[in-house]
Symmetry: C2
Subunit: 527 residues, 2 copies
């Protein structure tokens, strides 16, 4: 049952005056669900509860927080078919995607639970005292990661589950010991409310303090801005547009106390097709990339929006095959009329640039909000000159650049902004032969892929989802994978602290049995 | 021999028009050394060289970079007595301090060298492929820390060696694989040039690329601003005032590509004196704190500027003893007339506040630039009301707050801004009894000390020197200790990358023998 209310901690609250509905892009009609936007009083209440909850929640052991995360996963599963139905209605995405994304969301929660149960993520480091050291005695110093405080998470339009209410940002922040206030995404506020109810239920079942989680509705930007500026808030997680993420980043830096904003923003995810990939596997790659560009109506931040090759007949063949293959695929419904109209606008703007040619253009009488794919091509000189062509078009759209040679290819890579991913198609010898191209690409990205597609982001410790600006606001962190927890913590050193008053992770006996750094070396031994 | 020139890589360069001299605060006269401020052409040249050098330098093994760092330490030692003489003339600090700081600077360089030789600092993480995984095969993902690119380091006035030209910022950035451009501090440009010559010599001896290090003179803020805005620069290290650090931080965020600025700024380093410390050891602590306040003329960022106690006769006794003890100590020469006049201004401003009383006030006919100590006291209510009293006065100055009870003490701590350190004086039972006070303090600081003084910052893996804003611009990093290297790197994931083309740290065989995280668990085993 969707109430349309906000969750201020465990309490359903509808104090504001602004209302909005979500939208079914397939029917091209508003849904039946009306939501009440959070007002200032509710924002204040959520912040005050989060502050109180932090005092208790931070003290809970990793094992207790893990119970909470596992219970959230379980309660999301218990939402059953209602969640799938609301998700598909609010997003236009198919049931299979909904079920897959639900599985991923539960998987993420359980992965963070496992991380907490194992416990070494706190990076405990111990340098015991040396009272006899000359010329000065050495004090006892012990350091570990401690949670920052309440975190605000912005739901992402393109992942109603995995990057929203109980997605990677929320899971990692709750895992770290920080309470979370979600600014629910207005396009899937119903999905958000259902997931929020699962989190609230899990919090109650596992004895978490009220206020460890709140969920606020909003259709505009005000609620988010107020949350980012709130003095209780100590960090922000965001996935979305460069414009939105940069605005929040700048806002947070204007606070009396600036706070970290981790915004994962846009990316064109350049693909470098080296000669052997064209001559040996051109058709195969063309087919795979047609699929990758179309995946989820191109609404992935890792969608391949830019393909670079060196002029040759085999590049011509690749382009022609990619065009043929992508034409065969059926357009997919986009998440919302706004996203669809932005896609049409972006597609037109780039297609209208002089010097570009059309490789493929799906142009049929389709249902509303369907994303009709388009692929353009341009030569390297013109691409280099026109930075408009470097911009992301969110949807099933890609540009293939015909570079005159490897030097031009490298010059283009050097000119690109930061990216989430970069891909090299070729053979092992070419990695060496084109070393300088590979390095130039590596410097622009968070993840570099050999012979694959960038879509598909594995959730594991070795994933880096982020990259130099504007792929993300801080390339030193990731928003996917267990490493994402490091965004919400800071190291605290304890000097000459009595053993029994130290956090367990730092006590002599190593009661948690974790891997620690003692005198600079990894060990699980007691002191 | 001091030339007064800039080092643009290995080349001595004097192209600018602006000149300045350093100053001997003890003689109250300019030194004999005249320096040429870097001009735009020289800034461009240093940046271009750093960019080129990065391509080569990043590829060097940890062992090669360690050789470079150890050679720098050696060459600093080889500067011999000239370095000590120039240091003391430019800073007014005694020879013992100069020698001690030189030792610390060399120790830091060697500590980073050891970190590189051991090698695990790159946080290598490997999740091998699982081609048979259902429903989807798992790709091979491997992640490690990679250097950001050229880093700009600002010399700090109060540590001409340990936080300046070859100080912790430079040592950690060079260790990480990043070239460094130093904006030399104008108060000790001669010391800076000597140390720069040692770095350049070490670079030549160990075959480092030209441009891995440059040293630029400047007397104003323009050179620093231009460096921070330069597109080649990928990160900034700064130690100094809140005003200076915040300005650079905001500037860097206004770039087309914002870059991380780690600024370690001010702190009053609150001391919480719990009842047992007053009744059992009041005199001893009063004596120790008189010394800690006076240390180095109070010119340490960890100087204890704020002492909180609960009203009692034993607090009165402590205050009176501290006053007597600090009066006995001789004033010390400050670094520069500007720092001295700022000290006098700050001291006067806080002393002029209504409701404060003087505990100790050294007021004698002293030589120029001598810092005459002052200690004030105020009751908790008035301190809470007047945030002017919360500000740092850089010098031998401290305020003792008489709190009416523990609640007021906690309210004061909750109101303070972020701090580098916080200290609890008391016994182990009091840590539990005043748990809420301890936690409130912990949330404000990077390092929490039990029964000690905050001055004295150990260089080791467990040190955290940083803290919530405005102690530092990013509480998630440290500027002292080997952890400081993490400011200049970002994780890069390699997906399905051929084993032999991977960086050694990520290869199956673990050729470096480092501790890695494989499938989420620490191990030194090969794959």
């Amino acid at each position: 049952m969707i109430s349309g209310a906000n969750y201020i901690g465990a309490e359903l609250s509808k104090k504001g005056k602004k209302q909005f509905n979500t939208f079914n892009p397939k029917l091209n009609l508003p849904t039946e669900w009306t939501f009440q936007e959070a007002n200032e009083e509710e924002i204040e209440a959520a912040a005050a509860l989060a502050k109180e909850a932090f005092i208790v929640y931070r003290e809970f052991s990793g094992k207790r927080r893990a119970e909470f995360l596992r219970a959230i996963a379980k309660e999301i599963e218990n939402l059953g078919d209602e969640l799938i139905q609301v998700y598909t209605q609010e997003s236009g995405l198919p049931e299979g995607r909904a079920a897959g994304e639900r599985g991923r969301t539960m998987g993420q929660l359980n992965a963070f639970a496992s991380l907490l149960e194992e416990g070494s993520w706190v990076e405990a480091s111990i340098d015991p005292a040396q009272p006899d050291r000359q010329p000065m005695p050495k004090v006892d110093l012990r350091k570990m990661q401690c949670p920052l405080g309440p975190i605000v998470v912005f739901g992402a339009s393109n992942f109603p589950l995995a990057f929203s209410t109980a997605g990677g940002d929320t899971a990692s922040a709750l895992a770290s010991g920080c309470p979370v206030i979600v600014k629910s995404h207005p396009m899937h506020a119903g999905t958000g409310e259902l997931v929020a109810s699962a989190i609230i239920k899990a919090a109650e079942l596992t004895g978490m303090p009220n206020g460890v989680f709140s969920n606020l509705n909003s259709s505009g930007i005000e609620v988010g801005q107020q949350l980012v500026m709130h003095p209780v808030v100590k960090g922000v997680g965001f996935t979305g547009s460069i414009k939105g993420g940069t605005a929040l980043y700048k806002l947070a830096n204007e606070r009396t106390e600036p706070i970290p904003v981790f915004a994962e923003m846009g990316s064109v995810n350049p693909i470098v097709v080296l000669p052997s990939a064209l001559t040996e596997k051109g058709d195969e790659w063309a087919k795979q990339y047609a699929g990758s560009i179309m995946l989820g109506a191109g609404q992935f931040c890792t969608n391949p929006g830019l393909i670079l090759g060196i002029k040759s007949t085999s590049l011509d063949d690749f382009i022609s095959t990619l065009g043929t293959e992508i034409d065969k695929l059926d357009p997919i419904c986009m998440l919302h009329p706004n996203i669809h109209s932005n896609y049409e606008k972006g597609k037109k703007e780039l297609s209208d640039q002089a010097t570009v040619d059309v490789v493929a253009n799906h142009d049929a009488d389709v249902a509303p909000n369907m994303a009709q794919q388009r692929v353009l091509t341009v030569n390297g000189t013109n691409f280099l000159k026109n930075t408009k062509l470097h911009q992301e078009v969110f949807g099933p759209f890609s540009i293939i650049v015909r570079c005159s040679d490897a030097d031009e290819m490298q010059a283009i890579l050097a000119k690109l902004e930061g990216q989430l991913t970069g891909t090299i198609l070729g053979n092992e010898n070419e990695i060496k032969k084109y070393k300088s191209i590979v390095h130039t690409l590596q410097d622009k990205v968070g993840r570099i892929i050999f012979n694959g597609v960038p879509t598909g982001v594995e959730v594991c410790p070795s994933m880096q989802h982020g990259g130099p600006f504007p792929a993300a606001t801080d390339s030193r962190f990731t928003s996917v994978g267990t490493g994402a927890i490091q965004r919400w913590v800071r190291p605290v050193s304890f000097q000459n602290w009595p053993n029994e008053s130290l956090p367990e992770a730092l006590q002599n006996e190593n009661p948690l049995g974790i891997t620690r750094i003692v005198n600079g070396l990894h060990t699980t031994q007691a002191i």
